[in-house]
Each structure stands twice: as C-alpha cells, then as structure tokens.
C-alpha cells in the first residue's frame, strides 16, 4: 500500500475489479484487488463452499523452448523435470548456492516446450537467472505479456468450468491441457493455491475480460481478492514466498522435501546438480536445526508474521518466529505458520508468543489446517 498508485501496473481485468467494487492495493508492483464488496471473510468461505475467481495475471508466465530444455532446467531446480510427462505439472523451487529458496514455481510440460508460472515479485529475477543459465545452451526464455491468468477455485469449479469446456472434467490434479473456451485458446491446469479443487487458466489478453465476465455470470462464482487468497492458502498450509520462504531458508527447513524429486536426491538417477545441492542433500540426511510448522494460538488473537516465539511463559529463550498468520475463517480461529527449533517442532508442543507485551500460549499443529479438496 506504500506504492504510489501512479507507478503501479494494471492487469487486463482492472476495469472488472473496479466494476465489482474492489478495494485496490499495490502488490508486487501491480494494482490488485484485496477484497470486493463481499469482504475477505465471506469471500474465503464462499470459495470453500462453491467457487471463487481470482485474477493472478500479475504472476509471471514463462515459456522455455530449446534442445534438452528439461535437462537444462534441472540445473536450477531440485526437481525431476526430465521425467515430467507431457500434460503434467509439478511444483518446483529455484534454489541458490547456500541452499536457500529464490522462488517457488510451477513447471508444466506442454509437449514442445515448458511452461512456468512464477511469483510476481520474483519474475524479473527468475527470467534473468534462467536467461543466464539457459540461453548459452540455445534455449529461449520468454516471459509472456500477451496472456492473463485467472484461477477458478472451489468445489463447484469443475461444474462451472465444464459448462464452458466439458473436457476439463477429465483432468486430474496437476494435469495441464490446451482447451478452447469461447473460441480462445486457453492453457488450463487443474491446480491452485487455496487447498481446494480448481483450475488455473492462462487466457489471451484479448479474451480474458469475456472469460472472467462469463465465469462471474455464474451464480456459483464470486470474485475473490488477495485478502481471501492469503487466508485460503494459509489454512491450506501453503507457503507464501517472501514470508514463509526466502533466500535464507532451505526447502528442507521449509518442510518442502517432498518437492525434491527422488531422481535428484542422494542415490537418485540424477542426484544433485542444482544450486545448493550439497547443503540441501546433507540436510535431508542429517536434519536441520529449525523447521516450518503450523501454529494454533490458544486464544482468539491472531498471531501475524514477525511475532516472536519463546519456550517459556516467563523468561526462557527465543524459540522461533511466526512467518504467516491471521484468522482462519474456515477454522473459525487464528492460524499461523512459523519456524521453530527442531526440539520444539513436535505436534502439540506448547510455545509462547509475545503479543503486545504479553506471552500467549500457542501449540504446534498439523498442516494443513483444513483438509485438501484436490481431485487426484
């Protein structure tokens, strides 16, 4: 919100946000809707009950094309890209030489090219990193400016989207497909960042407004802003880059070892060979001093990013800090995530959070806070 509105970029759906009564804020250099008339709480609950439409056009859509592109990209991510089947998508991380995380992203195999979706705030650095590493090998790295990206999320998402494109019913979680909607070539993935079933749809700029309007014309769909996007992903135990993940945090500390593919682990077919590989693989074998956990405060007060945790109600020593937190509308209470020392990371461990000069009890809790609704 500190950004000057005049310096902010807009997405092609900007007029639609205003028409739907959005409160707009600066986010990663874009003017984006933080909430609409419904408000964060109802938008969140509506997405879990029916379907929500999110404009995520600020995110970076990147195409990689060239010889052995999958093998080449593996030099930047601890993920099996070579083994990613056509029509499938996989979660990945750009790591650095210290084993920290530079960004998290999605990689899709779209046949003759790879399609990546990266975070808005990191997209220019990501493209620069990929150009430096991949262009010398004859691979082109192209950030798309001619496509918008929307997410339709929630248990009704399939029924809603199938009215425009029946083939989406055949898609499973993390499938990707090229399908026409109202004559426009859409690149659809069955994925999202809310913990619900749903789809992410890359659509040509010229067709984005019509698509968004027709989806919002369905009584089951509401427009959802960044506020509810944040509480939905938090309840789903999903990390926000810049808060829960950063350049100083490794995937192992972040509880993202599952994203490090078997082929890239010690003993795998293509073990290591990514930035920070020695550190990350050693941590996978020997463990880490801290790790990301879910946190449930005992009371009703939300514990937000930056709150410091202690191992005792009085005195004691610091025992980590909160990296994301707020009120979970579906949980009907406060939920947080944070990093704590390994010794305090066990489920049910009581810690104390320092909040407005008082220490309030908080318990280490299982993630996600709400069960996922993915269609596997």
């Amino acid at each position: 919100m500190a950004d000057e509105p005049t310096e902010l970029k807009t997405t092609v759906l900007n007029d639609l946000h205003h028409a739907h009564g959005a409160k707009m804020v600066g986010f990663a250099g874009y003017e984006m809707p933080v909430q609409y008339k419904l408000g964060v709480l109802k938008e969140h609950l509506h997405t879990r009950a029916a379907a929500g439409l999110f404009d995520v056009s600020h995110m970076g859509q990147v195409i990689l094309r060239g010889p052995d592109v999958a093998k080449a990209l593996e030099a930047l991510v601890p993920v099996d890209v070579v083994g990613l089947a056509e029509g499938r998508q996989r979660y990945a991380l750009f790591t650095n030489d210290a084993g920290g995380i530079e960004d998290d992203l999605m990689i899709a195999n779209r046949g003759d090219h790879l399609f990546l979706v990266v975070n808005a705030a990191c997209k220019h650095a990501d493209v620069a990193r990929m150009r430096a590493a991949l262009e010398p090998q004859g691979i082109t790295v192209k950030m798309l400016e001619n496509r918008a990206l929307v997410a339709l999320q929630g248990p009704a998402a399939e029924d809603v989207l199938a009215e425009h494109c029946p083939d989406v019913r055949e898609m499973k979680f993390m499938d990707v497909a090229t399908l026409p909607i109202a004559g426009a070539e859409c690149w659809i993935s069955r994925s999202g960042y809310t913990g619900e079933d749903g789809f992410e749809i890359s659509v040509p700029n010229a067709a984005a407004m019509d698509l968004a309007k027709s989806l919002l014309g369905d009584a089951r769909v509401e427009a959802i802003g960044l506020g509810a996007r944040d509480s939905l992903r938090l309840e789903a135990g999903l990390c926000l880059y810049g808060q829960d993940l950063d350049v100083d945090t490794t995937p192992v500390e972040a509880g993202l070892s599952w994203a490090i593919s078997k082929a890239r682990r010690t003993g795998g077919a293509r073990a290591g060979g990514f930035p920070g590989d020695k550190i990350i693989l050693k941590q996978m074998a020997d463990g880490t001093t801290q790790r990301r956990v879910g946190l449930r405060p005992d009371g009703r007060a939300p514990l937000r990013a930056g709150v410091v945790l202690f191992d005792a109600e009085e005195g004691g020593s610091e025992a980590g800090k909160v990296t994301s937190g707020g009120f979970g509308p579906s949980v009907e209470g406060p939920v947080s995530m944070g990093y704590v020392p390994q010794a305090q990371a066990g489920e049910g461990t009581t810690l104390w959070a320092e909040l407005r000069g008082k220490r309030v009890p908080v318990r280490v809790a299982k993630l996600p806070f709400v069960p996922a609704g993915f269609k596997r």
């Binding site: 408000g39 964060v40 506020g227 509480s231 009703r300 007060a301 406060p334």
Partner: protein, 119 residues
C-alpha cells in the same frame, strides 16, 4: 451522538458515556475477528490504548476518547467480533465510561461535522 477524529462515537446514557467505533471505521477495517476489552474499573486517560481490535487485515488500537473510568464493557463483541461489522453504532458498543464533566463532549464533532471529516 458525538464523534472523535479517531472514528469513535460517544453517546451519553444514564450519565455514562457509551463508546464504540463508527460505521465508517468498521467498514474501513474490514471483517473484525478479535476484540480485547479493558478491565472494568480501570482508570484511563485520554489517548491511552484501551481496546485492541483485529480485522482480517491488521490489528488496530482504540484509544480512550476522554479521561475517566471504564465501568462496563460489552463482552458480547468478544464472543462474536463480527457484531462490530453488523451493528457498529448500536449493539456493538465497546465500553461505558464514567467521566467527571460531561460538558467536555461539547467539544467533539457532531454527526454533520464527522461526515464532513470523513468525506
């Protein structure tokens, strides 16, 4: 009803001053999910932080609008913070204060002045 620049409303009822936040403030804050009220009997001075409210977006402090004693707090908004969004200038009052001289309220904005202040 009188108003402060901190977006509180004050109304005299049986020689006590009832205090809450305005509909404008509630709308700006968004969905309120947590309220912490002061202890009854607490002596407060003007501009002292007396209430913490948290919306889905952020935490905010409510300041004592006047010197006085907190004599009653509205526990129903602690149990159901959403009431503050539903009826901010009615059922969802925050606390009642006893103050020495009710005439100090005359210095505060009336509804017309507050409307001009927020426009």
């Amino acid at each position: 009803m009188k108003f402060t620049e901190e977006h509180e409303w004050l109304e005299v009822e049986d020689d006590l001053v009832v205090v809450g936040i305005t509909a404008h403030a509630a709308e700006q804050l968004g969905d309120i999910v947590f309220v912490e009220l002061p202890d009854e009997g607490r002596e407060v001075t003007k501009d002292e932080e007396v209430v913490v409210i948290e919306s889905v977006k952020a935490a905010s402090d409510i300041l004592a609008p006047l010197d006085g004693e907190i004599v009653e707090v509205n526990e129903s908004i602690v149990a159901d913070p959403g009431k503050v969004n539903e009826d901010p200038e009615g059922d969802a009052w925050f606390f009642k204060m006893k103050i020495e001289d009710l005439s100090v309220l005359d210095e505060l904005m009336d509804e017309k002045a507050y409307k001009a202040f927020i426009s």
